[in-house]
Assembly symmetry: C2
Homo-oligomer: 310 residues x 2
């Protein structure tokens, strides 16, 4: 997820906030060895690979246990750094943030698949569109599948063993065809996905299977939150967590020269934003709030196990 959420249809955000606990979900906690009403939380860092600044902040938060999961964007410049860290931290919960967009102005990327094999995904310079809409309009399903598989295969080739798949900027939720490709790729690799089961606003896409887990709620900070209310937003979210499985998506980074340059002119999901997220999730106050509210942090690897042993 990135700044462009605010420009795009807000599909994921709206969809996620309207999700409700499913009957299935009530048993997930039990399948993971917790009482039925447990508040399970995936604290998830997005956008690994984009910049060293994002990687460094995310690795630090993962190592401290401040977040329980993260996902990496395979078309980005810093994936080898992520792969090296993942190899040195084999228990870390690292998924793939499947990517068909490149949203920053002066820092772009394109497909993992050979350009000539995915022309409907790229502009004439071989770069992904910066928004979801042109992808939804132009991308051919066969090329989307080719590119998603190339991203998974590149991760495997680099020694990353992904624990889950999700979708950068929610792009893959934009059309039923892309959603179907997303689920097909996930299933063929036996991976859980960030999924939107039960969302009344979403198009009538392929539904999840019985043994596949879905989130009850996804929480993500938006540009409407005042900067001085940042910690309060997250503390309130923790205080109001419901029983079931929630994912809070955070965007970690350091507000340094590199990240300011990557995200130049875009305060939403920009460098200072990511520093604020990092400061909150690594704070003692936030850690204490998780404890006080009886929240159990889980990762996608736990869900992967639950999928395999229903």
């Amino acid at each position: 997820m990135v700044r462009s959420l605010c420009r795009m249809s807000l599909l994921l955000l709206l969809a996620a906030s309207t999700l409700h606990a499913q009957a299935k979900m009530r048993s997930l906690a039990e399948r993971l060895g917790h009482p039925a009403g447990t508040k399970l939380l995936i604290l998830h860092g997005d956008d690994l690979g984009v910049a060293h600044s994002v990687d460094a902040a995310s690795f630090d938060a993962l190592e401290k246990g401040a977040i329980s999961s993260a996902s990496v964007m395979m078309p980005t410049p810093w994936i080898t750094e992520v792969a090296a860290w993942a190899k040195a931290h084999p228990d870390a919960d690292i998924g793939l943030h499947l990517t068909l967009t490149a949203e920053w102005d002066t820092y772009r990327w394109g497909s993992v698949a050979s350009k000539g094999r995915v022309p409907s995904l790229l502009d004439s310079a071989g770069i992904f569109p910066n928004e979801v809409e042109p992808v939804a309009k132009r991308a051919k399903a066969a090329e989307v599948e080719r590119e998603l598989r190339a991203q998974v295969e590149r991760a495997l080739a680099l020694g990353i063993k992904p624990t889950h798949l999700d979708s950068h900027m929610g792009t893959l939720f934009a059309t039923p065809e892309m959603m179907a490709v997303y689920l097909r790729v996930a299933r063929s690799y036996g991976l859980p996905v960030l999924a939107l089961r039960g969302d009344p606003k979403a198009p009538p896409h392929a539904s999840l299977r019985a043994n596949e887990v879905a989130l009850d709620t996804v929480i993500i900070a938006g540009p409407e939150i005042p900067r001085d209310q940042w910690k309060k937003f997250y503390l309130d979210a923790i205080a109001n967590l419901k029983p079931g499985l929630t994912e809070i998506i955070v965007h970690l980074g350091h507000d340094d020269a590199e990240l300011q340059a990557v995200m130049v002119d875009h305060p939403d999901y920009g460098a200072a934003w990511r520093q604020r997220d990092y400061d909150v999730v690594t704070s003692e106050e936030f850690k204490q709030a998780l404890k006080d509210n009886g929240v159990v942090l889980v990762g996608w690897r736990d869900l992967q196990k639950a999928m395999r042993q229903p």
Copy 2:
């Protein structure tokens, strides 16, 4: 040029230092409107595009007139930043640092051409080799040409109007076949190249044409220079400049978190090295030394004009 110079054959370095003034060269100063014996100097920043840190330091040095030229690596992550800057600075002397290698450990890149069209240049993950030797051994000339043309075309598509071509890590000087491709591509775009005319150690490659300019001397800092002798190395170089055309290649950057991560574990041509280069070329002492020694800074655009109007 980067750290790998010290690991590779040192071909360029040795070659360049043994170059002697050509009869042709004695008239270049005159063609540029200076007396025949003028010390012409291209102060050239390599490796734009690799990192924001490199771009920021190089843009700053170019804007201050501390360097007179630079070149950008089109397969790297930050080319759009370079393109935006180049558009805002149409008089800046920006060439293309043609690239067939990716030498850093945790930060890699591959071809601009579609992967499937240049398989002899890439490993199975679509990444360039980290040294010159595997390129010299495996690269097919037709694929080298395809990739070099793709790099030039990408630059043009992004609005960069290159003033010259040179070769990252001297890769294109490694075999007569690659040298021939390099010259062919340069000629087809009417661009001057960093060329090694008169080098007795070089293989018997295609020779330059009468209207093409070549350097008398290329100077580049090497790992043998003690850190505390950095400024002295450059001041001595300026004091000893000969009449004719010299290029001093510098590697500018800031010794910050991003560049330290790009160049992790490689002090040669690493982040601190690039900070030292930046500190020297932007110093008052260095500027004064240029003045005291009657050095005239020129760029490749001047040479381009000289080529067109012999």
